[in-house]
């Protein structure tokens, strides 16, 4: 191995040690890449696709949009686990977190096959409802619950169960808070404005250093206006 290659491998090893969750970020980037055909071909109201294609697109969208926001929790699962189990723990957390999203995605994909689900004003309505939902008293509670942490057993099936449960405990309120926003994104046919805008909104809320209760309502209202204008034009 050349000195340069050796040094690079040392840097990568240190990065992997300091940032055990790096692969989850790669997964999210891959999901964005896989979504490119949708992003580039999206029409404002989407276009009919099969249940399986719809479910696949939903799942990719959820991975692309949510995984970058939960990297800290992925890391938390790793740091609370024995080194030999860290990858397994992180995967367990992710599976637990994504499971409710994927199940809900099946319902969305099934519904999205219907002709009425492609009415051009539906994305605007969904984002408008998402803005209203974010103003309800339940919404900030859901956001708080989506940060919840749980103790993890260190080994055996109990460790796998706890990682799944930890992910699920964060994933369910995450779904409860953001389902309308994600449905809106789906109704746009996974449009770039909706997906990028939705990701930025969620990131601004989850990663801000103090509560910003106006960010999501205003952002969703802006998306509602954007897609409303697209429909009118």
């Amino acid at each position: 191995m050349t000195p340069h290659a050796s040094r690079a491998s040392q840097v990568l090893a240190r990065l992997a040690d300091q940032r055990p969750e790096w692969w989850a970020l790669v997964l999210a980037v891959a999901a964005w890449v896989a979504m490119l055909p949708h992003l580039l071909s999206a029409s404002p109201s989407g276009h009919p696709i099969s249940f399986w294609d719809g479910w696949r697109a939903w799942t990719l969208m959820v991975i692309a949009m949510t995984v970058p926001l939960i990297l800290e929790s992925v890391r938390w699962a790793a740091e609370r686990s024995l080194r030999s189990r860290q990858l397994r723990a992180m995967m367990g957390y992710l599976v637990g977190h994504l499971a409710p999203w994927v199940v809900f995605g099946a319902v969305v994909a099934w519904t999205h096959r219907a002709p009425w689900a492609h009415l051009p004003w539906l994305p605007s309505l969904a984002f408008g409802l998402a803005a209203v939902w974010a103003l309800t008293p339940l919404y900030p509670r859901l956001v708080g619950w989506s940060h919840r942490t749980l103790p993890l057993a260190p080994k055996g099936w109990a460790a796998d169960r706890d990682c799944l449960r930890f992910g699920f405990a964060q994933g369910v309120p995450c779904l409860g808070g953001c389902w309308l926003l994600m449905v809106g994104c789906t109704l746009t046919g996974h449009g770039p404005v909706a997906m990028v805008g939705g990701t930025l909104l969620s990131a601004a809320e989850r990663m801000s250093w103090q509560p910003r209760p106006w960010v999501v309502p205003l952002g969703c209202a802006a998306l509602a206006v954007w897609y409303g204008l697209a429909w009118l034009s």
Partner: protein, 472 residues
């Protein structure tokens, strides 16, 4: 520049200490002449820390609560288990001191009234509640508003005092760093890097854990104001206790190689709103409170000249990531005990299979107690490492890893539906014990035995989510 001085602890039945007498009179004005909706009232100031109408001892139909908008904007803002713990409380004290000083002037007192601090670390005598706070009246019969009946048994009478373990500060002051990543099982002086709306359970910072939490629990007892964050700031001693915590931050930063956080997220990322003495809304960030001189006060015994601004020249040391090397497999129950000497011990079964080989040569060994949940009365617990079975913990002070105190457990329990946080998290540095036992050849690399001993006989059962051993 105002100088905050140590509170008078002397018993003086004839001549009241003027600082405390005027403090009492100012509280009298804030409590009796001002309505709850007045931001400078005693109850409003208490609610800024935390508030729960179900526990409010001064609730009265003729004194309605302020508008919801005001409550949302200014109440229940205390920062705990967070790197905002010390800066937020510094801001809180700063405005409170102005409000009290204005009330002192209103009462006919001096214009330079300054909040004293309770330095319970100074001596054995200083660990007793300052005498004036335990007297219902002043000499001559004037009501003493410093007196609060709801304190731990014996505290007001002076028959009970804080223990040396309650006021242990060396651990916190010895920390080189201010904060850690919130995902880490580590502890530093000021607390983890937590967003102020985060719902996770993260370890208390060093100074918050000890002496802050211990003093709250020991002074408050099971029914006292100080025990409950929704009531704590209604006890006048709260403010002197926090002035001492604020002073300890100043002591810490004046040590060599200490550094306050440099991240913008800490310096300016979170803005906190308060009312000042003129009832004007003021917004502050941590960057505005890193130096007390900019707030026009210092503590006695400290030079007004700080060593050349350390913050800009000292680089934060790099620390290796911790490794979790063993943990309890399932949640545990620490049963209520009628005797101080009854011990609930916890072995670390995961250590046996995972091995503690990583401990050999470890520079740091940390014990992390996670998701501790109490019932109504969860008190303080002494944590021991490798305490022999049926041994009297008093005979093994060298195995004492530290004390943990469940300040806020009752309030947290009440709000379990509103808050994602489930219980508390504590980190204790057991490196010294590990090194001593290793040197004596009595460190079992495959088993670490942890014992939690209730300090008070009023403690209810406590659930412990997990205990882990972490090394670097």
């Amino acid at each position: 520049m105002r100088v905050r001085k140590a509170v008078s602890i002397a018993r003086n039945a004839t001549t009241p200490d003027p600082t405390l007498l005027w403090y009492s009179r100012a509280i009298g004005i804030m409590r009796t002449r001002r309505k709850f909706a007045d931001p400078t009232s005693w109850r409003f100031q208490g609610a800024v820390h935390d508030y729960d109408p179900s526990t409010d001892p001064y609730k009265s139909p003729g004194d309605p609560t302020p508008a919801t908008r005001i409550q949302t904007g200014f109440w229940k803002k205390c920062q705990h288990s967070s790197w905002f713990f010390v800066p937020w409380h510094r801001m809180y004290l700063f405005f409170f001191e102005q409000i009290v000083a204005a009330a002192v002037v209103e009462a006919g007192g001096p214009k330079d009234w300054t909040l004293p601090y309770w330095d319970y670390t100074a001596s054995a005598a200083a660990r007793k509640l300052p005498w004036a706070f335990g007297q219902p009246t002043w000499p001559g019969g004037e009501t003493n508003y410093l007196y609060v009946a709801r304190r731990a048994p014996g505290i007001n009478a002076g028959t009970t005092s804080l223990s040396p373990r309650d006021v242990e500060t060396a651990t916190a002051l010895g920390k080189l760093l201010f904060s850690t990543s919130k995902t880490s099982s580590d502890v530093e002086f000021g607390g983890p890097q937590v967003q102020n709306h985060d719902g996770g359970v993260y370890p208390f910072g060093g100074v918050e854990s000890s002496p802050h939490n211990h003093v709250h629990v020991s002074v408050g007892g099971p029914q006292g104001f100080m025990y409950d964050p929704t009531l704590a700031a209604l006890d006048p001693i709260f403010w002197l206790h926090h002035a001492n915590i604020d002073r300890l931050w100043e002591v810490w930063i004046r040590e060599s190689n200490r550094l306050n956080p440099q991240q913008l997220s800490w310096l300016k990322g979170s803005k906190f709103k308060f009312y000042d003495a003129k009832r004007k809304v003021v917004t502050m960030t941590s960057s505005e409170v890193t130096d007390t001189r900019k707030l026009d006060y210092i503590y006695d015994g400290m030079s007004a000249i700080r060593r050349a601004v350390l913050e800009s020249v000292v680089a934060a040391p790099r620390v290796r990531r911790l490794s979790m090397i063993g943990a309890t497999q399932a949640p545990l129950a620490l049963e209520r005990s009628a005797l101080h000497t009854v011990i609930s011990t916890v072995a670390l079964p995961a250590a046996a299979s995972a091995g503690l080989e990583g401990v050999a040569g470890a520079s740091t060994v940390l014990l992390h107690l996670e998701n501790l949940e109490g019932k109504e009365n969860a008190g303080s617990y002494d944590v021991f490492v490798n305490l022999p079975r049926r041994a009297d913990p008093g005979d093994h002070p060298q195995l004492h890893a530290g004390r943990i105190s469940m300040f806020g457990a009752r309030a947290a329990k009440r709000r379990v539906r509103d808050h994602a946080r489930v219980g508390f998290s504590f980190v204790l540095d057991v490196t010294r014990i590990y090194q001593a036992l290793s040197a004596a050849g009595s460190w079992d690399p495959e088993h670490v035995r942890v014992s939690l001993v209730p300090v008070y006989d009023w403690s209810d059962e406590v659930k412990v989510g997990r205990i882990s051993v972490n090394t670097r």
